[in-house]
């Protein structure tokens, strides 16, 4: 049997709740003074009692539902033990045996299904900064991020290339953004990617090794890192050597991965049930209510924009990617020609904090513009004259574009009609 690229993904996303996962400290930690947003719970001081954030739980379940997962009606939190300076308590509260949801899927454009293993909720760790101070190599620790709600999404190793991984990640990001539960801002670290890569017989017959790439902060790097790693491993395997099981980093400058000398960590996390947090028990009705709150999936919205407003696929995709832009389009598309409005939004020619300025001059349309549009689209004009009157919408759109949406589309349509039904165009 032939070996094939076998790639799984672990994705961490910070939820944008107001408060942290188990305490009332603010969850927004970007660019805040170090260690200014902590309390006994998130600093892991003895005797502090963690109490889970209900909204974070709802959001974690909604992410699972959006990824077609089954929901556990009884979920528990567990302690995962390890020693590292970013972890104040010596353990992280996470979910091990009973995550909020499991066994989902996400379909790629090709129809290929990527299975989702599980979606669980945990707490983020503190942030480490490595510095040399007075000639000493030191690590600085900031616990503002400690305890921020973090959702981990794990896929089965169903992905077979860097490109597929990138497509999956983009789709996932669009879904998470449409749910409004995370900014998914990779530069700020609110979405983190960890692919694991091997050449295996199949996703169910994995190789004896796998290589993880850490600290990838863009989809492009994830794609390039995966492709590099596949090539590197293949070269070793072709020589009859087994790649080493390890964690590697990615260097954008060389587009290569490199072995990371991470301090040896024991894989023995000694998970046990978090005694301070009773189980979360849900009714089916509760889960169904969360399901009802799910927005339409981005793919479906794109399809509808294309169908209902005749937007181009790429314009529709750009609108859907940004909830603010989409909301603006939906609010104002009746006041101004939909295609024009979409283009203005996508090309950032419109201020989203104000309604669109309707400087519509209902008086006249510059006949030169009508001329130009008809000349530039002779093939369309031929179609129109052959009886395909539906192409009028396209021509009106072109006039709107030329005039940057400054004319009334009805008037543009009338002017076009006059010309099309009038004497033949001189070429």
């Amino acid at each position: 049997m032939k070996l094939q690229p076998t790639i799984g993904l672990e994705i961490h996303v910070e939820l944008k709740t107001r408060s942290k996962m188990f305490c009332g400290c603010p969850a927004e930690h970007f660019a805040k003074p170090a260690n200014s947003q902590t309390c006994p719970v998130c600093l892991g001081l003895p005797g502090a009692l963690p109490v889970p954030n209900r909204l974070a739980i709802d959001w974690a379940i909604m992410i699972g539902l959006a990824l077609d997962c089954q929901v556990n009606l009884k979920s528990t939190f567990d302690r995962k033990h390890y020693f590292y300076p970013d972890l104040a308590k010596g353990f992280q509260i996470t979910q091990y045996d009973d995550p909020f949801s499991f066994k989902g899927q996400l379909k790629l454009e090709s129809g290929k299904v990527i299975r989702i293993t599980r979606v669980h909720l945990e707490e983020d760790t503190g942030k480490l900064l490595h510095k040399t101070i007075d000639g000493h190599k030191l690590t600085l620790v900031d616990f503002n991020r400690s305890g921020v709600p973090l959702v981990e999404i794990v896929t089965e190793p169903d992905i077979s290339s860097g490109e597929e991984a990138k497509e999956f990640l983009k789709k996932l990001r669009d879904i998470l953004r449409s749910l409004g539960v995370s900014d998914c801002d990779m530069e700020k670290g609110s979405m983190r990617l960890e692919p694991n890569i091997s050449w295996s017989l199949s996703a169910d017959k994995l190789a004896d090794y796998k290589v993880e790439i850490k600290n990838l902060n863009s989809f492009r790097f994830a794609q390039a890192g995966i492709d590099y790693e596949l090539k590197r491993q293949k070269a070793l395997l072709d020589k009859g050597e087994m790649p080493v099981q390890e964690t590697r980093g990615y260097q954008p400058a060389t587009k290569a991965t490199f072995s990371q000398r991470v301090k040896e960590t024991a894989a023995d996390y000694r998970y046990f049930p978090e005694p301070d947090i009773p189980p979360i028990v849900l009714t089916k009705a509760y889960v169904e209510n969360l399901r009802k709150q799910l927005p339409q999936l981005p793919e479906i919205v794109v399809q509808e924009l294309v169908k209902d407003f005749h937007l181009s696929l790429s314009t529709a995709q750009l609108l859907v990617k940004d909830p603010l832009k989409l909301a603006y389009f939906i609010q104002y598309n009746r006041q101004i020609d939909a295609q024009t409005l979409a283009n203005l939004i996508v090309n950032k020619k419109i201020d989203l904090s104000h309604p669109p300025q309707l400087k519509t001059t209902t008086e006249t349309v510059d006949p030169k513009i009508i001329d130009q549009v008809l000349k530039e689209n002779k093939d369309v004009v031929v179609k129109y004259k052959a009886g395909k009157t539906s192409v009028m919408g396209f021509l009106v759109g072109q006039v709107m574009r030329q005039t940057r949406g400054q004319v009334d589309p009805k008037l543009a349509s009338q002017e076009l009609l006059k010309r099309l039904q009038g004497p033949a165009l001189k070429s």
């Binding site: 003074p33 170090a34 101070i133 600085l140």
Partner: protein
């Protein structure tokens, strides 16, 4: 009689980040074995393992997503127990050498 070997004690000590001397490792090896034997008596009792829970009958103890400023520590308070600090950060030896 259970037996916790010195090798196992060493492994547990490493996971727990405890520096133990050779003498301590041997001592804890026999002590931990005794503790396990003592606890092992429980296995003679007929207990429904499904009912074992650290949570009694509590479920769904959650809180609303609200910021509680009353419990937030100042930077100074947060750092007050730290051995070393630097410009508002906790300071530890470099974890990458």
């Amino acid at each position: 009689m259970s037996s916790i070997s010195p090798k196992l004690v060493k492994h547990i000590a490493k996971l727990a980040n405890l520096p133990l001397s050779a003498g301590q490792i041997n001592k804890f090896s026999s002590q931990l074995s005794n503790v396990l034997d003592f606890m092992g008596q429980l296995s003679k009792l007929k207990i429904d393992p499904k009912k074992a829970s650290p949570h009694l009958d509590l479920t769904n103890v959650t809180r609303e997503d609200k910021i509680d400023t009353s419990r937030i520590l100042t930077q100074k308070q947060a750092l007050s127990q730290a051995r070393k600090t630097h410009q508002g950060y906790f300071l530890v030896k470099a974890i990458f050498s």
